[in-house]
């Protein structure tokens, strides 16, 4: 990544005067920044989150809060394994999901998944109940196997980003890195991006009057400020297992395909990529995942779609409806004189 800083004038240039990012068609998955009007944009960047090596330490959640100065969502015990965060929100831009699964013994999940680069240091006590995870021993005699699934969720920085499409103020914009970012000084908190996002990511920040950016739509910026000075996003930097991998999208895609192959060869047949497919409903995302079960197990939508793809048809219906209303009114008056 180049260390060259990008001037803020670039932001205005990205909008042009119309604020149109991707019109009604799909953006080029390699160049959404170019489609948005950036010239000489750097290569598109993103995250490959390999959940098979996530240890659930939540360093990413903490690093994101620290770096971005995000307030807490309250401290509750949610009764959902180690997850007391709950979901992504206006103040929480990384969320580690914990799933405890009981499956019949002898399924593929029992194999050691391995880290891509096994740490030379001895493992550190992370506050988990034990150092080895239940079910890791590989001894399947006469018991049910148990496994943890852990996954750090984040904004997907979609190629076709519904949040960006529907934003009426132009606060959401496509950066030169191909990411999707809210401009805090422009958003008026209309909230339209919230139901528009097919992944349930972005939300209005809730908090006391005076809380930073309260009432505004907030989500992961892919550390736009850090990218601009050539730094790695805080969450990826903090991740001790390289479960969160940051890089150019092309490279990440190659790495991800290799990793799936490795896992399949090791017998982990349920390893699959999620969100990387440019043919998918959001045109492939900038942040994609390697999962060990169906997406909905992790709280992710199985087949998300940016509904703006249907907009031309929806506008047509609205036009017909309006014409019908006008015709009905004319008819009402054209009738009998009474």
């Amino acid at each position: 990544m180049s260390t060259q800083a990008f001037g803020s004038s670039g932001i205005d240039q990205a909008f042009g005067s119309s604020g149109l990012d991707q019109a009604f068609g799909s953006s080029d998955p390699n160049g959404p920044a170019r489609d948005a009007g950036w010239e000489d944009s750097p290569p598109r960047v993103g995250f490959f989150t390999d959940t098979s090596i996530c240890i659930g330490c939540k360093a990413c959640e903490v690093a994101c809060k620290e770096w971005n100065g995000n307030p807490d969502d309250g401290f509750d015990l949610l009764g959902s394994s180690f997850d007391n965060t709950g979901q992504l929100s206006g103040s929480t831009w990384r969320h580690v999901a914990f799933i405890e699964q009981r499956r019949p013994a002898g399924t593929a999940a029992g194999v050691f998944l391995g880290m891509p680069e096994s740490p030379a240091r001895p493992p550190v006590e992370l506050g988990m109940p034990s150092l080895s995870r239940p079910g890791d021993s590989g001894d399947t005699d006469g018991r049910t196997e148990f496994r943890w699934l852990m996954s750090s969720d984040v904004c997907k920085h979609c190629t076709n980003a519904a949040c960006l499409d529907v934003c009426p103020t132009g606060a959401l914009f496509r950066t030169e890195f191909g990411t999707v970012v809210v401009q805090d000084d422009i958003c008026n908190g209309c909230g339209y991006c919230v139901p528009a996002c097919p992944y349930g990511v972005i939300d209005r920040r809730i908090g006391e009057q005076g809380t930073k950016n309260v009432g505004l739509a907030q989500k992961c910026t892919l550390c736009y400020d850090r990218l601009k000075v050539g730094q790695t996003p805080a969450c990826a930097q903090a991740c001790p297992t390289q479960s969160i991998q940051f890089g150019t999208l092309d490279e990440l895609r190659e790495r991800a395909v290799d990793r799936v192959q490795t896992l399949h060869d090791a017998g982990v047949s349920e390893a699959r990529l999620y969100g990387e497919d440019p043919a998918g409903g959001t045109g492939g995302s900038g942040a994609f995942f390697l999962l060990l079960d169906e997406p909905e197990v992790y709280g992710l939508p199985p087949d998300p779609v940016a509904t703006t793809a249907d907009l031309p048809r929806m506008w047509k219906h609205a036009g017909l409806a309006a014409a019908g209303f006008l015709a009905a009114a004319v008819t009402a008056f054209a009738g009998r004189r009474r």
Partner: protein
């Protein structure tokens, strides 16, 4: 009705986020529709020489659109930044398009309404009054020209979201909302104008109400699983009330509305209430469908399985 499906979720938590909107938004949907229909009635009454209906239409439109703007601004996270809506015009954003539709509609409705209000004042406004009188007709006609769009775009506003019950209704929602607007404003005309002027309002009310009932029926069938949310909880109660009020109001308007002033007023009020129930009902159904992961996961899982099974299903339902 789709059979109950089993599905997996993450501790039953929502997959998509419900809109952060409060009841201001369904109130806006209702008031915007009422304003739009009232402008149409006002302009028609102006051209066909029905002074009381004209006055009611214009004043009703002004009041309704003013209140609806208050609701819209109140619902923002930062109301003081309302004008940021005017920074851009984005066809990909129904809210942006709607902002500009309202901007085109508002001034005409305001001038026509102000002209009527000025005539009611006990004092003579002199030049201003005369100017308003001259401007009233063109202003009212201009507002009436944009009014249908005010009533119909809100259908797209809701359905261009990942909220299951709203997006699943995207084919019918604009039609449902204009019908509902016709019923409400027709009802308002019946409530406010004398029998010998209210004929067009009555016809609009009955036509709108019947269309609303028919389209709602159709919508429930085409929505799939999320149609359930129109039958349960708060939304279910509201939709039931909407149907009863709309049907009752339509029958009253059709059979008694031309003869009895009282019957006309009661039917008109029922139709307005029915329209309001429709808007709040559709809103609530959407919120519920977003909060329950079932309505996101089950249809998407089915779509995915169909696609995997080989049929190359288009992701965006382009085929329909």
């Amino acid at each position: 009705m789709v059979p109950d499906a089993t599905f997996t979720s993450y501790y039953g938590r929502p997959v998509v986020k419900p809109s952060p909107w409060e009841l201001d938004i369904p109130a806006y949907l209702f008031l915007g529709g009422l304003a739009a229909g009232s402008s149409l009635l006002g302009a028609g009454a102006d051209l066909s020489d029905r002074p009381v209906l004209r006055r009611a239409g214009r004043l009703g439109a002004l009041a309704a659109i003013s209140l609806s703007l208050v609701a819209l601004v109140r619902d923002l996270g930062r109301p003081s930044r309302f004008l940021n809506m005017m920074r851009v015009l984005k066809p990909t954003s129904p809210m942006s398009v709607g902002t500009w539709i309202l901007t085109a509609y508002g001034p005409g409705a305001a001038v026509a309404g102000a002209a009527e209000a000025a005539r009611l004042l006990p004092i003579n406004l002199g030049l201003i009054g005369r100017l308003l009188d001259v401007a009233a007709r063109p202003a009212g006609l201009a507002a009436a020209g944009v009014a249908p769009a005010v009533a119909s775009y809100t259908g797209v506003l809701l359905s261009d979201t990942a909220t299951p019950a709203w997006h699943d209704a995207h084919r019918e929602l604009p039609f449902l909302f204009v019908s509902s607007a016709a019923a409400a404003s027709g009802g308002f005309g019946m409530l406010t104008a004398p029998l010998d002027e209210a004929g067009p309002a009555r016809r609009m009310a009955v036509g709108g109400a019947l269309a609303e009932l028919a389209i709602e029926q159709r919508m429930e069938h085409s929505m799939g699983l999320s149609a359930e949310t129109l039958h349960t909880g708060t939304a279910g109660t509201l939709m039931k009330a909407s149907k009863a009020l709309t049907l009752g109001g339509a029958l009253g308007a059709a059979f008694l509305g031309g003869r009895s002033r009282t019957a006309a007023a009661i039917s008109g009020a029922a139709l307005m209430a029915g329209s309001a129930c429709t808007r709040f009902g559709v809103f609530e159904a959407g919120q519920h469908s977003a909060k329950d992961p079932k309505y996101t996961v089950v249809p998407q899982r089915e779509r995915l399985n169909r696609r995997r099974a080989g049929g190359n299903q288009p992701t965006t339902e382009e085929a329909r």
